[in-house]
């Protein structure tokens, strides 16, 4: 590891002749440089479009197989769950309260202008339970849990701990990735519930105290439009988000290279990629939900 981190890239750094030829090539520069740069760009494009998703998919399949390996790592699962709880619960609540409040203010204001003030409670359900809470959950799962997980696995990778594990005959996917992935999904379920509850309370407080809504109207309209599938689809989303975040973090962590900087890059990419994937998944699941689950009549 040391040599790789000290010589960045380290390409051709092995032999004196290799080094001098590369230096000569660089000096020759000019036209060759353009072609090389073009090749680099096209290589990168192929990498992003084909190779990386392919490898990620392979990792997902391997992890799926490792799920059924005996015994399940309960201890690791519980430790990781606890760890994820410890890094996400407080930020989740702190995000959920103003989120609920803001939604109430914005949507409530709009609804009042339209003259349907008694439906503020109903809009809160739609906004918070169906969309906002999975969204907030995904922010925290990707930003807090996924990044921490990727940093952990990535630093194990560059310290060769993963290699050592494999040599000792232990499959790191089974030992490290599967329990983390399930811990992430499991905690995401709870976070989603937490965001819904805290968000609704926040919305209620804002509506009743600041917008002069009546508690009765809030609750009545809430009851009129809320249905169990709303919550179930949100929980389903949260579960899928947790699994996705866990897999992306594992993939990026296990492929970290190039010393501590490599881990930093991996964490960065994990957060960005997880966000994008979660938003796409959120969109797909919401669309399907609206397609297949009828809204409650009023």
């Amino acid at each position: 590891m040391t040599n790789e981190s000290i010589t960045p890239g380290g390409i051709g750094g092995s032999s004196p002749s290799g080094r001098s030829t590369s230096r000569r090539a660089r000096r020759a520069g000019g036209g060759g440089g353009g072609a090389a740069a073009l090749r680099k760009v096209s290589d990168g494009a192929v990498n992003v479009a084909v190779k990386e998703p392919g490898r990620f998919f392979a990792l997902c399949l391997d992890t799926f197989r490792a799920i059924f390996k005996w015994p399940f790592q309960w201890r690791e699962f519980i430790e990781q769950s606890w760890f994820i709880v410890s890094v996400t619960v407080i930020p989740t609540m702190l995000v959920a309260i103003p989120f609920g409040g803001i939604l109430s203010l914005q949507v409530g204001g709009l609804i009042r202008q339209l003259g349907a003030q008694s439906y503020t409670g109903a809009t809160a359900v739609v906004a918070i339970v169906r969309e906002a809470s999975p969204l907030v959950t995904s922010l925290l799962v990707a930003g807090a849990a996924g990044s921490a997980m990727c940093a952990d696995i990535g630093s194990r990778k560059i310290r060769e701990e993963i290699d050592a594990m494999e040599v000792l005959g232990i499959n790191p996917l089974h030992r490290l990735v599967v329990p983390r992935m399930f811990a992430c999904a499991f905690i995401a379920l709870f976070l989603n519930g937490l965001v819904s509850v805290v968000g609704l309370i926040g919305g209620y407080v804002f509506n009743v105290m600041l917008q002069n809504g009546t508690p009765g109207a809030y609750l009545a309209s809430f009851n009129a439009i809320a249905q169990l599938p709303d919550l179930l689809q949100a929980e389903f989303k949260a579960f899928v988000f947790g699994i996705t975040a866990g897999l992306v973090a594992a993939y990026k962590g296990l492929n970290a290279k190039g010393g501590p900087k490599g881990v930093g890059d991996a964490v960065n990419q994990t957060v960005v990629i997880t966000f994008m994937l979660l938003f796409v998944e959120n969109f797909i699941i919401s669309t399907l939900y609206f397609q297949f689950v009828p809204s409650k009549g009023m």
């Binding site: 590891m1 040391t2 040599n3 010589t7 380290g10 390409i11 051709g12 750094g13 092995s14 032999s15 004196p16 002749s17 080094r19 001098s20 630093s155 194990r156 310290r159 060769e160 701990e161 290699d163 050592a164 594990m165 494999e166 040599v167 000792l168 005959g169 232990i170 499959n171």
Partner: protein
């Protein structure tokens, strides 16, 4: 015990960077082999390929009759249980203390009781001189200690094949000498196949039965110790004598320890230095894999450089060897040591003990 590793036409590259190509060699069962090469020639990559952590582009690695790069996963994990590996940086699990690190393979792969685990772990920690550091975390110990803890973990399952990446980097010369003795004793005790990667010329000259040299993306030479130490091949000669004279230039980094060894040996004189006698087990055993001193030279009609095989006490080991083996075997029967074995240079000269006097 001990398994032969046969490598055929192995090639490895990362992207466009070829690390080495067409490496073919056979590491004999039960013998100690050393792999040398300038920094960055892919020695660590080679070790990782041998345990299937990196997949070569081409070629075969036979462990017994199994072709490692093409094994299905469960067989690969099964085969890896033959190996003990010390990584270049120790590769300890950062979240466990040293005791748990070393106990890890035992707890995973055996059904030993906690008391047995404790006994074995403490025995191995004693062997590498880490007594009293059981409770420390890997982040709290020095580089040399990490190395030794990694070695203890590699040894704990009594492997058939031991791959050791630079056991002596970051270690003081005395500990290096003791560690070399530990390797030799282990080899006598376990009969395992050893492959050591090192930059320490002293180790390379006195410890192994075989030496290999990686240079410029090829295996420059691999063979018995005496063959390489008496070779006139410029690269081999320069490297094994840590000399400035030769094809390897300065754009290759030289370690301080190498420079020191170079100065001490006062080479560059044009003549090959004598072949030192091989270090022998201190535990009164005879290593099965050890060749008789001078046997290779005699068989191939090579005259070893003058002064070869003579130890600090002035004994010529070509003559001494048959008597040594006989006395060792007698000693094993009687339960005592025979002739004092030669230590390598830098190793505290063995005091002529009662066994020697009785001779």
């Amino acid at each position: 015990m001990g398994v032969e590793i046969r490598v055929e036409g192995l090639t490895k590259s990362f992207g466009r960077q070829v690390i080495w190509q067409d490496v073919s060699l056979s590491i004999p069962a039960g013998e100690i082999s050393v792999l040398l090469g300038p920094s960055g020639t892919g020695k660590s990559v080679f070790l990782k390929s041998l345990v299937g952590l990196l997949k070569p582009d081409r070629g075969h690695i036979y462990i017994g009759d199994r072709d490692l790069p093409y094994l299905p996963e469960h067989q690969l994990y099964e085969t890896r249980k033959l190996f003990g590996v010390l990584f270049q940086d120790g590769a300890l699990f950062g979240s466990m203390n040293l005791f748990d690190n070393i106990a890890f393979p035992l707890r995973e792969h055996t059904r030993k009781t906690e008391a047995e685990v404790r006994r074995i772990v403490l025995e191995k920690m004693d062997l590498v001189g880490l007594m009293g550091a059981e409770g420390k975390l890997p982040g709290e110990i020095s580089g040399g200690m990490k190395k030794r803890a990694g070695l203890a973990r590699a040894l704990v399952l009594d492997p058939e094949i031991l791959l050791v990446d630079e056991p002596d980097s970051g270690l003081d010369p005395v500990r290096t000498a003791f560690l070399n003795q530990v390797f030799i004793d282990l080899s006598a005790q376990l009969d395992c196949t050893f492959l050591i990667v090192t930059h320490d010329i002293n180790t390379a000259r006195t410890v192994p039965d075989n030496i290999g040299l990686l240079y410029q993306r090829h295996l420059a030479m691999f063979g018995p110790r005496e063959m390489l130490l008496s070779s006139e091949e410029p690269v081999v000669r320069q490297f094994l004598n840590a000399s400035k004279v030769g094809p390897i230039g300065m754009s290759e980094e030289k370690d301080a320890s190498e420079l020191e060894a170079e100065a001490k040996m006062g080479l560059d004189s044009g003549k090959l230095p004598p072949i030192p006698p091989q270090q022998m087990p201190s535990n009164g055993l005879v290593r099965r894999g050890q060749h008789a001193p001078g046997a290779w030279c005699a068989a191939h009609g090579v005259t070893p450089p003058p002064g070869s095989f003579i130890d600090e006490l002035g004994r010529n080991w070509v003559d001494e060897w048959p008597r040594y083996v006989a006395s060792m075997q007698a000693g094993q029967a009687a339960g005592g040591a025979g002739v004092t074995p030669p230590g390598g240079p830098g190793f505290p000269p063995p005091a002529p003990g009662p066994g020697g006097a009785a001779y």
